[in-house]
């Protein structure tokens, strides 16, 4: 075999060798060639780093690799789990939050059953809004919007609104209705006795009055004389009246006193 033929044969073997094929062992030249092809010659780390820096200077920073997309099923499951966890957390937070349950000691029990006076359509117990910020210890947190109205079949609701945070010993309400009886300083309106401080104005049984009443913690009603407004007078000669010169719940009146009767609130 000539040198050229050997060279050509070697060239073909080298092609296969460098292509990754395994050649039969025993050929010393192929062993040298194999060793040459496997020489561990690599640039150092510092040189590679410098080279990368140069590339960055020349071409800018390489674009970041595309973000791995989360498989859709995993995304859905993850979202559902997250929603459940958030829901449970919210539920736990809400269930552990102290709820201010009003425990009012003042119950607007001033409204008697409607059956007692069927002629009176409504009895309104209305907290006075202006009294809420009152520094008086008798002020109540009964909200100004609380209106207790009795219908024919209705019973007065004793449950104050949920906004009532701090129970108060007193409440101030308006009692409106016809006077059932008058005894000394006690006016009975629709079954509810109201203790009036001071001399009673001229009033008669049957008068339709409106009284701003302080409700004590024990449920008793107190009112100042000045807080009584006679809406409609039912006074007539011989009718039971109360007022100056009168005491007690009976007796004939001596005429209406305009100053009292026309007390305007």
């Amino acid at each position: 075999m000539s040198e050229q033929e050997r060279a050509d044969a070697l060239a073909r073997d080298l092609e296969r060798l460098l292509a990754g094929e395994r050649l039969p062992e025993g050929d010393p030249l192929l062993e040298v060639a194999s060793a040459l092809s496997r020489l561990p010659l690599q640039p150092g780390e510092q040189a590679t780093l410098r080279f990368e820096q140069r590339l960055d200077e020349w071409f800018g920073k390489p674009a970041p690799p595309p973000r791995q997309r989360i498989p859709l099923p995993a995304l859905v499951v993850g979202t559902v789990i997250a929603a459940i966890v958030i829901g449970l957390l919210l539920l736990a937070i809400l269930s552990n939050r102290p709820v201010s349950v009003p425990t009012p000691t003042v119950m607007p029990t001033a409204v008697p059953p409607q059956t007692t006076i069927p002629t009176v359509p409504t009895i309104t117990l209305r907290p006075l809004p202006s009294l809420s910020p009152s520094p008086s210890p008798t002020s109540t947190a009964v909200t100004a919007t609380a209106t207790y109205q009795t219908a024919t079949s209705a019973t007065p609701s004793a449950t104050p609104p949920a906004q009532t945070i701090t129970p108060q010993p007193f409440s101030r309400v308006v009692v409106a209705g016809p006077i059932e009886s008058l005894q000394d300083s006690i006016v009975v309106i629709l079954g509810q006795s109201i203790q009036v401080t001071g001399n009673l104005p001229r009033m008669c049984v049957g008068d339709l009055v409106r009284i701003e009443v302080n409700v004590s913690a024990d449920g008793s009603f107190h009112a100042d004389r000045s807080s009584i407004v006679v809406e409609t007078s039912a006074c007539s000669p011989g009718q039971v009246t109360a007022g100056p010169g009168r005491s007690g719940g009976s007796g004939s009146g001596d005429g209406r006193r305009d100053d009292d009767h026309h007390h305007d609130d």
Binding site: L10, R38, P40, P43
Partner: protein, 176 residues
């Protein structure tokens, strides 16, 4: 690899990264030490970057183009060394100490550090032309036909030169 695209649209950064180890390997085959090889490789890519617009993908593959630059650049370096009286053989004594740790690479499992050192020593003893061809064939994985084109030789001549170079290396190893 995008080598068929116009030069203006080629991703040279990616091409440079891909070919950097191969170019270094070729240079390292031809010069005596790692540091010189690293410096020369960096210079080769500097030139490639500067003249990247001259690269015509329709005429040659990028690997051929960058190998040609490397080949010429190393030739110039060696020529300058000769002019200054520093022959590459002088650096051969230091080659063994400067070799990278063979244990750090998978190749080390199949070729021992001693064999590597002996082979590189023998490589330094080849003539410049033999070393060029060995470097192109085994350092840069250039085929005989392309080596012939690059060096202006016939393919058969390249084959014969390779045969003889390998025989010399074999003989050198046996001497050692």
């Amino acid at each position: 690899m995008g080598e068929q695209l116009p030069a203006a649209r080629l991703d040279f950064a990616t091409l440079f990264r891909e070919h950097y180890p191969r170019v270094y390997r070729y240079v390292r085959f031809r010069v005596g030490d790692d540091m010189t090889a690293e410096d020369l490789t960096a210079e080769i890519f500097e030139r490639a970057f500067r003249y990247r617009d001259s690269y015509d993908p329709s005429r040659s593959a990028f690997s051929t183009w960058i190998t040609q630059i490397a080949h010429n650049w190393v030739n110039n370096h060696l020529l300058n060394q000769d002019r200054t009286g520093k022959h590459e053989a002088e650096a051969a004594e230091d080659v063994l100490e400067q070799l990278p740790s063979a244990e750090a690479t998978p190749e080390a499992q199949t070729i021992s550090q001693e064999a590597v050192q002996r082979l590189l020593t023998c490589l330094d003893r080849l003539t410049e032309r033999d070393r060029q061809i060995v470097a192109l064939r085994f350092g840069s994985d250039v085929r005989n036909k392309e080596i012939a084109e690059l060096l202006g030789l016939k393919e058969h001549s390249v084959s014969v030169i390779l045969l003889r170079a390998l025989e010399r290396l074999r003989a050198c190893q046996e001497e050692a």
